[in-house]
Assembly symmetry: C2
Homo-oligomer: 242 residues x 2
């Protein structure tokens, strides 16, 4: 893990960009922490700096106000990461289908299922590197994109609790794998998410095998999640990681 930039923010949080092999990521650590900070991984599509100001604000808030180390990496083929010819072709198909109003589920299956297959081992490699840093300790939480999170929760025993955002496509195989998820879950749904089937999301919540699972649904569209859910998410992690 090689740090490529470092910035101390107003609230004392240290924000560092890193690369790990070909994986680019960002790490936020609290200004002062007496014990090793528990770690939250933020799963997202990528292009954090240019596309996700709210996600960056959430990460800083979790570090500054709740004392978490928080890390995000760009998913394969996202942000500034190179794309294969195959990926470019599927993305072009997706754009065309959206423009012409055709169904996009099959295209999303072809895009997201292989993305998860590649992203999860990268997250595990990143987790190894993060947990070897001084000042960062377990247990570990995952927060963000559901599809990656399901696989990670199933294969990675170091993940102790997870918050999933329901507003993204979940391939059919991962909807089945959801039954094998047994860690405590907070599932966040935007009730009027224009690009997301509400019934499918509720069925997915039902499918998770976890003995403690909570659904938070808020009125509003895909990007309308209220800020108080950020604090609810941190308190959920406080219950399970501290």
């Amino acid at each position: 893990m090689r740090f490529t930039s470092e910035q101390r923010l107003d609230d004392g949080v240290l924000e560092r960009e890193f690369t790990l092999g070909e994986i680019p990521g960002t790490l936020w650590t609290p200004g002062s922490a007496p014990a090793p900070a528990p770690l939250i991984l933020i799963g997202h599509n990528g292009g954090l700096r240019t596309r996700e100001p709210r996600l960056m604000a959430r990460a800083r808030h979790s570090a500054a106000e709740y004392g978490y180390a928080v890390a995000a990496i760009d998913a394969p083929g996202h942000g500034d990461r190179p794309r294969s010819a195959g990926e470019e072709r599927i993305r072009a198909d997706l754009r065309r289908a959206k423009e012409s109003g055709e169904p996009i589920d099959e295209i999303l299956e072809a895009l997201i299922a292989p993305l998860v297959d590649r992203a999860v081992p990268e997250w595990q490699t990143t987790l190894d590197a993060l947990l070897s840093l001084p000042g960062i300790g377990g247990p570990v939480g995952y927060s963000g994109m559901t599809a990656i999170g399901i696989r990670l929760a199933v294969v990675e025993p170091r993940i102790a609790a997870a918050g999933f955002f329901a507003g993204g496509f979940v391939p059919s195989a991962l909807r089945e794998e959801a039954r094998q998820v047994t860690i405590p879950l907070l599932f966040l749904l935007q009730w009027d998410d224009e690009g997301n089937d509400r019934r499918l999301a509720l069925d997915l919540f039902d499918a998770f095998g976890s003995g403690e699972k909570t659904l938070h649904a808020n009125v509003g569209g895909h990007t309308g999640t209220p800020w108080f859910e950020v604090d609810d998410g941190n308190r959920f992690f406080d219950r399970h990681l501290k």
Copy 2:
């Protein structure tokens, strides 16, 4: 309003039983409050002292930890309140139908719809009396039984926010009235509530007219609501009543 007993609890909360005409109730006020305490009304079926230890613990917690005045009254025909011959007959019908496994929705309609018609004016009278006490001020929140809460939220402008528990029968007319509810809502659902139709509960959440409404659903049966929802509920009221 006549206070019939008074007890100072360990956490400083003053617990007082009262009667207001024929309405019996309990009021909890925080041990020390610099300003008038905002008020939370707890809607329940009745028989608080003998049947609802968890509800009493919640009320004390809201007073002690969050500084609320909290009041509960027994609904007409509940707790020690007298029942009409008609009510006794419907209740006998309900018992028989439950024992023989027959559908009970029509019987519940006949029981709950008139209960709401009688209980809501009683809540309004109680609210007048509570707000005239020293140390209690607006704004006012309602927490508890959905059927009473819908009507109260529609007819009583002093109710500024409400937390509804989805695990109770809601008469069809009140399901329609739900569209007229416009105050901020927290709707609490037990995902595996054996006596409650999940789809009906989700349809009801969808129907509320509120611009800010949040659903919290937890795995488990009717009585399994996790304690952390008590704090979530208080923080919801903090956002809207303080």
